[in-house]
Structure formats: C-alpha cells, structure tokens
Symmetry: C2
Subunit: 423 residues, 2 copies
Amino acid sequence: MLFSRFFAHTSREVPSDAKIASHRLMLRSGMISQTASGIYCWLPLAVRILDKISQIICEEQDRIGANRVYFTTVQPADLWIESGRYAAYGKEMLRIKDRKDGDFLYSPTNEEQATDVFRKYVKSYRGLPVLLYQIHWKFRDEIRPRFGVMRGREFLMKDGYSFDISFEDATRTYEKVFKSYLTIFRRVGMLPIPVQADSGAIGGNMSHEFQILANTGESTIYYDKKLLEASDDELMTTFAVTDEKYDPQSVATQEKDLMISKGVEVGHVFHFGTKYSKAMNTFVLNEKGDKIFPEMGSYGIGVSRLVAAIIEASHDERGIIWPEAVAPFDVTILNLHVNNAICCEIAEDVYRAISASVRYEVLYDDRNITVGEKLMDADLIGVPWQVIVGSQKAQRGVVELKNRKSGEVKEMSPTEVIGRFMG
Amino acid sequence: MLFSRFFAHTSREVPSDAKIASHRLMLRSGMISQTASGIYCWLPLAVRILDKISQIICEEQDRIGANRVYFTTVQPADLWIESGRYAAYGKEMLRIKDRKDGDFLYSPTNEEQATDVFRKYVKSYRGLPVLLYQIHWKFRDEIRPRFGVMRGREFLMKDGYSFDISFEDATRTYEKVFKSYLTIFRRVGMLPIPVQADSGAIGGNMSHEFQILANTGESTIYYDKKLLEASDDELMTTFAVTDEKYDPQSVATQEKDLMISKGVEVGHVFHFGTKYSKAMNTFVLNEKGDKIFPEMGSYGIGVSRLVAAIIEASHDERGIIWPEAVAPFDVTILNLHVNNAICCEIAEDVYRAISASVRYEVLYDDRNITVGEKLMDADLIGVPWQVIVGSQKAQRGVVELKNRKSGEVKEMSPTEVIGRFMG
C-alpha cells in the first residue's frame, strides 16, 4: 500500500476532549472520525485492525463449533415485550418508529432474537447443542458517551448465544467459550484476566468478565498471584475480582497472595439458565416427549472497544505499538527522501520484495513530507517494523530496520532486510 | 463442517407469501429467517455466501486503490439538512430520536457522510483522488417490502464515493470503477449487462446500472447484440437500456440488432459532479490557491440483493445451483447410511482428505435422515459437487460424484474422488 494513496491523515494536535491515550491516539493517527457524540466512522487503518481481530474471533469460535449469523440491527419491539425487557431496558435502548408507526429498536444485544431464531427451527433435543454468534454493529444510547470508542454508542461487538439440554451440558459449553475467549485475547497479543462477575461460580449462575491489563484501565482488579501461572481450567476458579466486589475483610481475600492491577473490560461470558427460554416459551422435546426449556448462555466481546483496550495496554509517549497479530500492516517502509533516486530505488525494491509474500502487508511511506514528520507518523501509527531509507545511509548501501516495540535499530543492507522477512 | 452441527434447517414447505424463486429457496434452504417485514436474519449458509461475495468485492476495489471504511449506520440529521436531502428523502428514511431528543436517522446511503469525512481531512489538491468504500448494513423504509431480501428494508450494500479535482479525472475514476464492477460480477459467476441509466453518457452526468441476466428478473433489457462480445471499454457505450428508457421509434434503436432479456439490477455507478461538494461547502485548494469543489461519484452494489439475484439466475426446480466462486461449500459429502460402517468409513476418509486442503470447504452430511431427504437437501442447498456414499455401491468400493449444475453423475473409487480434488 502506498501511503500517498492511503486515506490516513495524521495530526500532531492533541484533541482537548480526548481524556485517555487510546482516544487521543486513534484520533491523531486518523483511525476514527467522530460524526456525533459516541458515534464514529472507522477509517482505513482502523478497518484493517477490526478485520484482523474479527478474523481471529471467527477462527476460534468456528473451532468450538459456533455458527456465525447476522441478527438484524432493527428489531421489532414485540420480541422484547415478550421477554419483558422492552420496558425494563430504559433509555439506553434506541427506540424507533417505522413509517407505519410500528415499534422497533436498534439492537443493543440479542438474547431475544437468538431465542426467536432458535425456536423457529429446533424442536427436538437432537438439535442441541446450538451456539450461534455474530460480529455486528449495535447501539446503546449511553447518557454520557466518552473515551472515544471505549464507551461509544454505536459499536462493533461479537455476541454469541448457546442452547443446551441440561445444566451440565450448558456448563461444558460455558467452559468451551471461556477457553476460546482466553485464546482469542492471547492471540491478539493481550494478557486476559478472567474475573468472577457473580458470587457463586458453582450451582447458580456463572459469569466472568475478561479484563485486559492496562495501567490506564478504568477497573481495578484484585487477583491471586497464582492466576499468572494458572492453567485455563484453573483460571475459571482462581480468585480475581474487580474493586466493586473486593472485600478486604473476607477470609478468602486475606489468605491469598494478592496482586492489584488496572484493567479494561473487553469480554463477558454469562450463563443465565432458562430465563429467556421460559419467558419466550421456547422448548424442545426430549426422548420421552417432555418439554425441556433449554439452558442458555450469552458471550460477548467488545470488538471496537478491544481496539482501544489494546492501545491502552500497548503504547508509549510517541504512539501506538500494535501487537503483530492485529497490526494494520506488518512492515512500513519510510522513504525519507522521495526526491533522491537512490532512496527511491532501494525503498521500492524492498517494498516490492516484501509485498510479494502473502504473509506480509506493507505500507510504503512515499509521501513528500519532512523527515521528522515521517518518523513521527511511523511511531504514531505503530506498525511493528520500520524500514528506514535515508539518503546518507542509502549512499553507503544500508538502511535501518527498527522495531517499534523495543526501539532497537539495526543497520543492514536492503538484501539483508528482505532476507529477514522472506528468509 | 459436520451438517449435524451446522445450523441450517431445510424445509419442504413452500412459503405461500414467497412469490419469487430466490425468496422461496432462501427460506427453504434455511438461509434467512424473517424477523419483521423486509427485515431478515442471515443464517450460517447465507453468511458464508455474503463473506465470499464481500471478499471478491474488497479484492477488486482494493486493486483500483479504493480505501475501505465503516461509515456509521446512525447519522445526525444535521448532515442531511446541510445537503438538502433531509426533507427531500421522504418516508423511506428511517428517522430516529435519541434519548436527548436529537434528530438522527438510519443511513440509507452515504454521500453526506463521505463528503463530511473527506472535508475533515483533505484540504489540498495533493490529497486527491480519493475513493472511499464500505460494505455495511443500511435501511430503507420501503412502503411495500417484498421478494425477500431482493427488496428488503435492512440490507447489506457496498457503497463507494469518489472525489476528483476535475471532470476528466472523475471520468477516469468512473471508468475504473465501471470495469471493477464488471470484474466483480463476472467473478461471482454472473454475466453483467451495463445499461445506460441516464440520457447523455458524455458531457453531463454519467450513470450506468448493472443488470444480471435472469429469466425471472423484474427488469426488461433491450440491448445491442454486439454487447455480448464487446470489450470492457466498449460496454460503457454499447446500446443497452431498460424498458423504462426503451423507445422503439428512435432511429438509434431501429438501426441495431436488438436482444431482449430479463434482468435484476445489482449495481449502480453514478457521476454527479459537484452537487454535494457545493451543497456542503467542501473544497480543496489547487496549485494557485483557488478553491475547487471536487467532482464526485457514487458506486453501489447490493450485496444481499446480489445473493438473491444469483439464485434467480442460477437455480432449477430442485434448488439452488451456486457458482463455484460464491458457493457456501465447494463439496458436500452425503453419507446415505450413517448406521452402515462401510459408508461411514468411506465418507469420513473422503471428508478428511478433501478438508485437508485449504482450497476446499466441505460439508459432510452426517445427519440421520432418509436417503431421499438427504439427496433433496443437497440439490436444494446447491453445493457445486456432491460425493454420494450409499451402502450398495460402497460395498463394491465405489461412490458417486455428482455435479449439481450439469446433473452428471460418475461412479468412481473414493481414491479417485480424492484425486479429483487434491490432484
């Protein structure tokens, strides 16, 4: 990709209303453009990141047998009246009248529609288990949207819904999704901390939030040091709570070697039993012909929020440091002197060579701007590897390979750089 | 993919309100589920097809330098008041009040938001040309939604917007997108007919609709026989119009060797000059410092509609016949006797072997249903290749390879089938 033809307009200005690093950096790198309070256009750099995250989510969800769908964003009020949530949801629900004065709403979540789709098709225990998910846009009419896409009104979310014949089966599904979520967050380069979101993990409802550690996070997490070395199964029960649930007086707390960290909530898994299947009279027949109300769970990842959370967890004073798995490009080539023939030749050779591999996406900064601007933009945008082509070094037949994360810079020949990626 | 774990529930029932083939077949194959008039959930089979089409669109749009974004679905009325379309759009626009009584709407198209994003970032002629596109959900509150997703209210669309410094540059962009659209429609397996949607192709506004030939289409197209052998450039000017514009008395018409076909409109390209850039006071400075209002165009493909259009163009009395490029799976393996050990062994061997290739996605029908149901479902769903494993032939060490389109069936050994795909 030629930067001169890429719609990413960076800025040195620090927007005054942007209180947190991710909001500032997403605006400054030209990732998002606000259209109204809490409503943002996602520009090409950001779209590439959403795609990478979505791809990882789909791979991991498909692996556990989840089936991808698109629920509708506009939904009839009737479904929500049936579940009892239409009145209960309050002003966060964006309510809509269509041209025939029918009551609709913009989906904030999809327990109702998932249950409705399920009941149209599945009538027998043989059709279970079912695990449906989507990655789609939602709307919650927050009273005070803030922190950019971290707490926006229109947002991209992965949401999933499970249907099982028994509590035991539902527990197994819950565990499968729990592990899948750990894998997803690790694959995007983050350390996920699952915190107990409900009192009793066994017997009653199960619920965990997934927090990503970030010094600037809005949650405070208290967790057993063992958690950092726990296996995926142990993670479900290892002590970890947010400040809302933290009780320094409790014996459970005092016995532990506690760590305290800041985090950002990026996911939530929830078993809620037959709440919706009963309310919406959704049942299957078992082998004996008895009506069984499926045990349900729902599972969410805030995809657009995760983009911001990754930035909170991975940035420095110069800009974003993308983990390789979700970076918008793998390599950026900085041609510092686009009017210098040697620089152009070297930069274009390296660009062509590395771009030839399907493994690497390359951003070639061919813009006619100052050296300082070009270097600052590269650090701001945060592509993992920079190949810096300047006229003096180019004359000596060398370029610099810089790692954005470590800051390490190595001089090498263009051939060595190409070999580093294509070898 | 095991069919027993795949959320695709077929039906023999022909829905009485489904008037056209694509609507009936999408419902019968379990691709879509209606939630309200003109509003459909897209189920796993259909999501796979949307993905394939979207992938082809992105590849071809990226190839011509288009930049992918996500505009917002909820947009402030202010933008549309500025362009003059807020009042003009009428009841097809789904209007929304947020919790603070602000006026919003669900995007039916994005000329306004594209212009707004453009003007925030591009101030100089050096930033041109710009071509932004997205694949995203839109809403048009049709008074009479009908024909399933062919004329739904919530729909998936690719829409793109171009900004050029001059009419000449805009013409070049228009031609690039025009050719890209031809490639896209051909790659999804269709024959596109571009029809002149406006009187003068030269000088004034340019506009073409893309029609896909289908006997059941709602448009009638009159076109010069030469069109079938025209090059991509010639296609822009070769005579082709829909019945609305057809004038049997005109000399231009009488001179031609005319063909008449039925078609479905699936795309539209439109040059509209400075209409929105002027209305929204959006300009760049040229080399001399003069204000220039960019020449704009917009370009749409109805992605969800295209799914239905492909079915209209490619089905028979037994079901859908997917073109290979957009088929939900490449191969389906029908184990006709899942309680027969030899059938299971052969079917699973073939399944494992072909699935091992990244080139092929395989649906293994392992469901415990009757032979007739299984064969009918395979023809209904329309995967291009069927590997049919029945007990009698299996005992002789052979299976059948059936081509869904031609209906041709060949007996061969499992090894030969595997070789056919993996060779």
